[in-house]
Every structure is written in C-alpha cells, then in structure tokens.
Symmetry: C2
Subunit: 256 residues, 2 copies
C-alpha cells in the first residue's frame, strides 16, 4: 500500500489570503473546501508516514509521533517548514530523520535546536534512497533557496513532486525524461503570464515542463489566489491537467 496525499496546495500566503477580497479569497472564506494551506504532502504506507514539507502548522492534530517515520524537505522557506517548530519539542527518545537539501542556513534556529528531529547530511542529487516500502530520488530545482524535488517510486509507478521551482535544471529534465513519472506534481503559482514570474512557474511554464517530461497527468500545486481566480473566471486547462486540492490522494494504479 502507498498513498500520496496533498495536505497543503497553496502558496506562502495561502487561500484565502489575509486582507484580500478577490473572487477566489471570498469564495474560500465561504466554502472551506476551497481553502489552500501552505505546502505539505504526505506518503502513507503500511510502515508509517513520510511527511513531504511541513507548511501545515497543526501537524500534531494530523499525525501521531509514533507513526511519523521521516520528513523530506524540499527547502527551508518558512511556508515549507513552519509546522516543524512546535513538533520539535516532543520529549521522546527516538529521533525523526529529516532529509534535506544542501542548505547550510536552514530556517531560524531549527539546526541549533532540532529537538526531536535529526537533520541528516544533505541529500545527494539523483541518488535514489531506498526506504524499503518505496524509494525517493532527490532532484535539483530552480528557486531562490537551494531546493530539491523528489521522484517517488514504488515498483514501476513514479510520482514526481517538484516544488518550489521555475523551470527545471537541464540534468533534472534529462533524469525525468529517462525515468518518466506517471504523475507530475508541479509548482504552478500563477496563471498564464507573458513572462514567467521569479521563483515559481506560471501555467505556461508548468505546461512546458509537462510536455517536455511526458507524464500521463499533471497536478498543479503551490497555487496562489490569482490562479484560483483565473480558473474561477473561466480559465481552462488541457486534458490531463488538474488543479490539486488539500486532501486529494493519489495511489499507484488508482485514479484520483
């Protein structure tokens, strides 16, 4: 058994954005199913839980200490790690390993006071890690901090989790072309723009990556209220492209 679940599909400000009264933010205040928390996902197997980023702040309400096997971090921007700060004070003897990119700074005082977390040596890009019930390959991305995506593999099924990024490094693109994912989960913070934004994909750049790598389905994540408003106002997506939402699950051999 392996299940991948989106927990947070919003950008750093989330949807609704504080103080904003655009159509997407107003809708999300009326209808909680339209809300987007900050970046988090989770992989569940029979062995336990692997957390992918920690943008959700109330993680203790979702996961017991006992079931948490490891944390995989894409990068150390606060909207991807903020959920770790209260959890670290757990007074437990077992440490939870954290797989991280090669970022000597980390976030605030996490390295200085890791508490229950053990920050492992930085991941080696392109070297697959075997967790027994599934494997993960770290893939370098293009962002304002050192950032890695993850190619998650169970048998022949592959899911690429690539956020935050604008475009892809050539080596990462080549690796994905040689190890084609079934499901591509990709940073797409913005609606189509004439020029892509800094640090994040717009829809045009996300679609380019999809076409270049060739997965069956593309799932957009790290979504801003601007992309949601664009969709609400009639913006359309090609067949095979979907907007993720908080709580959505994907599994090998099962359509969402």
């Amino acid at each position: 058994m392996l299940e991948f679940q989106f927990m947070g599909t919003g950008n750093a400000g989330g949807v609704p954005l504080w103080g904003c009264h655009c159509p997407a933010c107003d809708l999300a205040r009326r209808d909680p199913t339209q809300r987007r928390q900050s970046a988090s996902a989770v992989i569940r197997t029979n062995d336990g839980v692997s957390l992918l980023d920690a943008g959700i702040t109330e993680l203790a309400d979702h996961f017991s200490f006992e079931e948490m096997e490891r944390v995989l971090l894409t990068h150390f921007h606060m909207d991807h790690v903020q959920g770790l700060f209260p959890l670290r004070w757990a007074e437990c003897e077992r440490k939870i390993p954290v797989y991280r990119p090669d970022d000597p700074v980390g976030a605030d005082d996490l390295y200085k006071h890791p508490g229950v977390f053990e920050f492992l040596p930085p991941c080696d890009p392109f070297r697959e890690i075997d967790f027994g019930d599934f494997c993960v390959t770290p893939l370098p991305l293009i962002h304002s901090r050192v950032t890695q995506g993850f190619l998650i593999r169970k048998g022949n099924w592959r899911l690429a989790y690539l956020t935050d990024t604008v475009g892809l490094p050539d080596r990462t693109l080549a690796y994905l072309q040689a190890n084609q994912p079934d499901e591509l989960v990709l940073d797409c913070s913005e609606p189509p723009r004439d020029t892509p934004p800094r640090n994040h994909n717009d829809l045009n750049s996300a679609l380019s990556i999809w076409h270049e790598t060739g997965p069956r389905r593309l799932w957009l994540t790290h979504i801003s209220h601007r992309l949601d408003t664009w969709l609400q106002q009639g913006g359309s997506l090609p067949e095979g492209v979907f907007v993720a939402h908080d709580g959505l699950t994907l599994s090998p051999g099962h359509d969402a």
Copy 2:
C-alpha cells in the same frame, strides 16, 4: 471599552505536547478546552485590535486585516512570532506597525521580507507609548533573547504582561512597584522547583515576583504540560493566583 484576551497560554510545544502521554496531554486530547496554544494575547478597544505576540498560527481566522491596528512583540522566539509569517503576504497598501524589542536579528527572514508589517525602531524601555485608547510601557525582562514585557494602562487600571522571563531586572521591578498593576500576567512555565529553570519562571519564582510587586491578582501563562499535570495531581495555588486559559478575558473593573 478595553478587553484583554489570552489567545495562547502554552509554552513553545503547547499542550498537548506532540508524542506525550502524561495526564495533562492526554486530557487535552480528549477535552479541547484544556488545550494550550503558544503565546498570544489581544487587546480589543473600540478602535480595533492590538496583537500581543503571535504564537497562534491561524491568526487570519481570528482577525480581519481591517481591524488589526498594530502588533506588540515581546521577543523573536518562533513560538511568539510564528503567526506573522503567512499574514505578511497580505497584498494591502496599509502597513501594520510592529512594536519590537531591540533585537537586530528578528526571526528567520521577517526583517528581510516584512510584507505588510512595518517593523518600527526598537521600543525605548520604560517610555510609555500613548495609543489614544490605551497606553503601553515596554519593560525589560530576563530571557535568552532580548525580551520586553508590557505594562498596559487605561486610566488608573493597569495590566502587566510579562513573558518570557525568569525573575525580573531590578529596574523593571522598581518600575512595577512604583506603578502597581491591578492584574499581573506572568511567565510560569514550570511547577515548583528547588532551583528555577533557565529562561522561564517556575511557580516559586512567579510567586516571589507577585509578592514583590503586589498586584491584586496573578495570572499564570506560558504553561507547560508539567505545570498542568502538577495542578491536575493536586498542586494548589494561593488565593489570588489563577491559571490562565486560552480565550479568557480580563477587563478594567470586571472580574474574569
């Protein structure tokens, strides 16, 4: 009208603490009224909202941008500022002033990317600030980061909000003796100990401060699961001493 409300009365790990199965943590999982979020309080007047620290992470669910007048920070430990990170991305023209201690580092990248917050020059200790509907005097505390408490005054009514601290600096003690608060809100993270812990009061040191400053009532805050367990197991408090809880309100001339 002035109303002071405790929003978070827990220490950095909160109650229940992740992974802990002590009596206080197990009770708080069964009974949400026993939960403690991290340090936050709020002052509401007819003019709007002044936030005292930002340990609550879902602040956007509690306050509209429009009503938020200002933020008063005691210090930059993450459990006191974590709620500001998502709020800062509000795309609004008005800036929200943040009154802060003289800490050149801040927390993570808050100073670099303040967004909608305007970090004012550091507060002058012992110099009263007049907000029109109430006044605030910053008072130095003793903690592992530069930290200030606040003496809140409306007319002759005074409430001292003093967390995080272990003991008090002599000048702060003398100031409180000369400007005696009606209500003393005080860091008391731990049950009675033979020697007080580092950085936070235990009950013995909190009671000493109460006796030295002489307010009518003492409210304990920044509470750990250890203090809650001690109370659950029969630990008793002198008359006039109360354990605060999330949501409790205090007002001039009204008993809680």
